[in-house]
Amino acid sequence: MATVGGGETGWRGVGLAVLTAWMAWGTAAAAEPLRIGIAGPMTGAYAPFGEQFWRGASMAAQDINASGGVNGRLIELIKADDACEPKQAVAVASRLVDSDKVDLVVGHFCSSTTIAASSAYADAGMMQITPGSTNPKVTESQIPTIFRTCGRDDQQGSVAAEFIVKKLQAKAVAVIHDKDTYGQGLADAMRHRMGQLGVKEVIYEGITRGEKDFNALVTKLKSLKVDAVYFGGLHNEAGPFVRQMREQGLTAAFISGDGIVSNQFVLDAGGPQFAKGVYMTFGADPRKISAGKSVVDRFRKEGYEPEGYTLYSYVALQAIAAAVKGAGGPDGAKASAWLKANTVQTVMGSKSWDAKGDLKDTDYVMYRWGSDGQYAQME
């Protein structure tokens, strides 16, 4: 991409317009399917989140197709795997654009990958909706065609900070992150708000993704006599970390974000006896919103619990369908303009977006993992 100069973009634009026109003509003739790329970590250590994306999108596509598709075009999903690696995300994005020729994209999951891939979609004038990337930078880069169906880490971090300071009344707080865009961004957001509330962390350090032994850090936290540990990162590291805290007799509260919203967290922690009592922030349980009841029931009937970002992914597809219908086609600029001006009825209630592509209303709340290995919204 770096080699494309300013002069060439004009030609690219023309080429794209011709291509779009040709595709539009093709559509009219044969009602081509509406091709939507579903990008996320389908393999690798973070694959449970990719599965949530795929499950939600598949169910939504099935439902939309059953009611006649979008403008007479049936939805076809193309799975794309970024393994939560920014480099692979860029490669996958150009594959979706150039060889799979998708019309729109739902993705990615890890904020670092969403940001890395976004320019490829933006250059192609393609709309991109991420169901799970919460880092503020995702929508701060002036790309008019990017949206998200989840909240932002500055909102999420604020809720956690207020909980730690006001509810737990913690005085010695440790802020630990995994040095990734999402994890560190979330930890920074929490720390910023906590500072405004008058509490300064006693330690701020990063661990290495992929490691399992955090005993040295845990011993250090013990020596600092912390009474709350905030962790910005994913369940793969959060699990062993909380387990080693408990094994070393450190009873401080453990608070994290939506990176641990998967039952895989309990497994990584070595069982509910270690995971119990862990707090996390996440949007108000989407499974409890009445608009989505029938969809949730159908997921459960298939033997799948629509946890985490499953319904967010369903909503992303509903938003795409509404925008394409409203704009009369998948053109990125038109569909985006439509989505920013209108409200969409979804399985998570009615949603509307601001000029940046963020949701106008978000509702982060605290959850607590119980001794049964399930998480539940706190009263």
Binding site: Y204, E205, A216, L217, K220, L224
Partner: protein, 320 residues
């Protein structure tokens, strides 16, 4: 961010209590024992054929899966005493991982014995990719978990100020040393060990004197894999979760340990492992977790500057 880090240290100086220091030494020792066990595989293979077996980290990863399979098997057979489970799981995992090590040598390295030095290296990287993806496809990408077998803890001290070592960690340290001692005995005192040492010193001469060099090389691969399996079993029982990608980070660390201790030297591998574990633990505990890997690798570089063949390695003799 840097400003904040500095102020962290000024507002909250770390208490340098004795029990904290002792706890960090235990943390580092346990971690280092694991590195040492895996480092043995790198060092033995290098010693005998002068090749870095980049697939060794993946062998360690395989052993974690084999541990889980063995645990499930024993549970199905109704073996429930923790002691027996540990002994049998170790035995089964070591056996099957050693078979893997042997098979990898047979398939990927032996046909390239006569080729130039780079060919087996590339082959090793290929084996590493193949194993990782095989496990990913066969077992799924999600991390897997096993329940805790031993959950007791030994604590020394009173109230808040105690030093502790969990029974699992004791198991790691004890089994690591026992298996190292066993390996040292095999290498130093048995006919097989003598053949290994002879092959290491001069393969051609050893062959002329009736040593089956190909078989000895295969045995060395199997022994190295067996030691990695001991580490894989202990780590899996201790940390509980693993996935197809764990071989990479741990493999790099163990390789570093082998180079630090002097590649080719058995005691060097164990020493390098423990030093690396201690360096990581102490730096993370008393300075900063962000830079613990930077520190560990700086120690490696400094060591190599002053002792190019590692701590216990013998300098390479120029053959004429």
């Amino acid at each position: 961010m840097d400003r904040n880090r500095v102020s962290n240290h000024t507002t909250a100086p770390l208490p340098m209590d004795l029990h904290i220091a002792a706890q960090q030494l235990i943390n580092g020792w346990v971690l280092g024992s694991v590195y040492g066990l895996i480092a043995v595989g790198y060092t033995m293979v290098y010693g005998i054929i002068g090749m870095i077996n980049f697939a060794h980290g993946e062998v360690y990863m395989l052993s974690a899966y084999l541990t889980a399979i063995a645990l499930a098997l024993l549970a199905a057979l109704g073996v429930s005493s923790a002691g027996w489970v540990i002994v049998l799981v170790l035995a089964l995992t070591v056996l099957f991982t050693a078979l893997w090590g042997w098979a990898i040598e047979r398939v990927a390295y032996r046909p390239l014995r006569a080729a130039n030095r780079l060919a087996p290296l590339i082959s090793a990287i290929g084996v590493s990719l193949a194993l990782q993806n095989y496990v990913r496809l066969a077992q799924g990408a999600r991390s897997q978990g096993v329940p805790a077998l031993l959950d007791g803890t030994l604590r020394l001290g009173d109230g808040e100020n105690f030093v502790q070592i969990t029974h699992q960690q004791i198991l790691i340290v004890v089994v690591a040393f026992a298996s190292m001692a066993l390996l040292a005995w095999v290498v130093q005192r048995t006919a097989l060990g003598r053949a290994c040492r002879a092959t290491q010193q001069d393969p051609l001469m050893a062959q002329l004197l009736g040593v089956d060099v190909d078989r000895i090389i295969a045995v060395v691969f199997a022994l190295g894999a067996g030691m990695a399996a001991v580490a894989g079993t202990l780590v899996t029982l201790n940390y509980g979760s693993f996935d197809f990608s764990i071989g990479f980070v741990t493999g790099i660390k163990a390789f570093t340990a082998a180079v630090l201790g002097g590649i080719g030297s058995l005691p060097g591998a164990m020493l390098g492992g423990i030093l690396l574990g201690l360096a990581e633990s102490l730096f993370s505990g008393f300075v900063n977790t962000d830079y613990k890997d930077v520190f560990a690798f700086s120690v490696l570089i400094l060591t190599l500057v002053f002792r190019p063949s590692g701590l216990l390695g013998r300098p390479e003799v120029e053959k004429v």
